[in-house]
Homo-oligomer: 183 residues x 2
DNA sequence: AACGCGAACTTGACAGTGACAAGATTGCGT
DNA sequence: ACGCAATCTTGTCACTGTCAAGTTCGCGTT
């Protein structure tokens, strides 16, 4: 049960997660501290521990939430009849709009990778992405290629390596994903 | 002068950098500690500080070394008459073969991004990569696309997200980079 | 309606970290 | 040969994550 009921604080679990997102967005992961989060939320220094057990436990919850959000967005794109390019655009839109989640998700040394909620959401996202290229000659290769393209663009964008351009990220990814996968 | 002469230890700077590479390869960045490195090298806990000033200073040196190695490899590929696909293969080969360097290089929140040696090497690598697509209709877009493809593949590979395949990474990147950029 | 069980949170402590200041050691140029 | 300055050590401080023990308080049970 990961239920959260209004006891003393109201909803500490959610509050800590939100504070973590804010802190990570500002200073990157690693710049986040359990005690610091507790301070931001107005709780004693060991308050969050009761909800997440570990620092890794907190980041596990964040990563699981991220994979769930991503999988939902990809599934919605598929349900709306989107093709590969739309899936890529959704992926990039998620990465740019949820930078904190995204950065944690792909840093498996920070969390417990065997968490059931996490693996379930991660597999769901992977399946949605792979479904877009299932009808190609070499589906595995095509899937990896598509994922690499959008993932690389998203990470480069988020780390600021692409800062010299002022184009819209989603438009960019649509442009070259289209020219590569729709010929 | 970042010279390193055999004083008391012999060559502390190099030894600490090597120890850092080993530690990061094992436990990822963040799992590396100044004191821990000092212990590995057999030096007092504040020994490394004199060479790098900061923890961030140490990682800055590592990142600069990484960008230099990458730029050298890319330049060599160009000098040997390599095309876009060869450049991509070199990029991936570097990322997989120098995982510790590569991981630090693209985590700018860990080091001082304005270090002159670092920026010089980074720009050199960027220029080599961009040179491979200079004759395209939209060079900026093509450059970003190529970089995204190989960078995404490299990071996904290194984080273990692609672990379900047992193919050779360089062969994979050659396969889909070829089908995308040589048509 | 009161009571006590257990969840939510606090307090206190411990080992380990990065950073700094001040002292000890030793190679090297003059 | 001598002293300077780079190299390294020792000691300390504030801070962190984690654990153990205490405290508060909502809620179901009777």
């Amino acid at each position: 049960m990961t239920t959260e009921r209004p006891y003393h604080h109201g909803d500490l679990r959610r509050a800590v997660l939100d504070a973590a997102v804010e802190a990570i967005t500002e200073h990157g992961p690693g710049g986040v501290g359990l005690r610091d989060l507790a301070r931001r939320v107005g709780v004693s220094h060991a308050g969050p521990v009761h909800h997440f057990k570990d620092k890794a436990g907190l980041l596990t919850a964040l990563a699981a939430e991220g994979f769930t959000l991503l999988a939902d967005a990809l599934d919605a794109t598929v349900a709306a009849g989107g093709d590969i390019v739309d899936l890529g655009a959704t992926y990039v839109r998620f990465a740019v709009g949820h930078r904190a989640h995204f950065e944690v998700m792909f840093r498996p040394d920070l969390y417990h990778g065997d968490d059931p909620a996490l693996t379930e959401a991660r597999d769901r996202a992977g399946a949605a992405l792979a479904g877009g290229v299932a009808d190609r000659p070499d589906p595995e290769l095509a899937s990896v290629a598509a994922w690499s393209l959008v993932h690389g663009f998203a990470t480069l964008w988020n780390t600021g390596a692409l800062s010299r351009t002022d184009r819209d990220p989603e438009a960019m990814v649509r442009a070259f994903a289209g020219s590569m996968f729709l010929t």
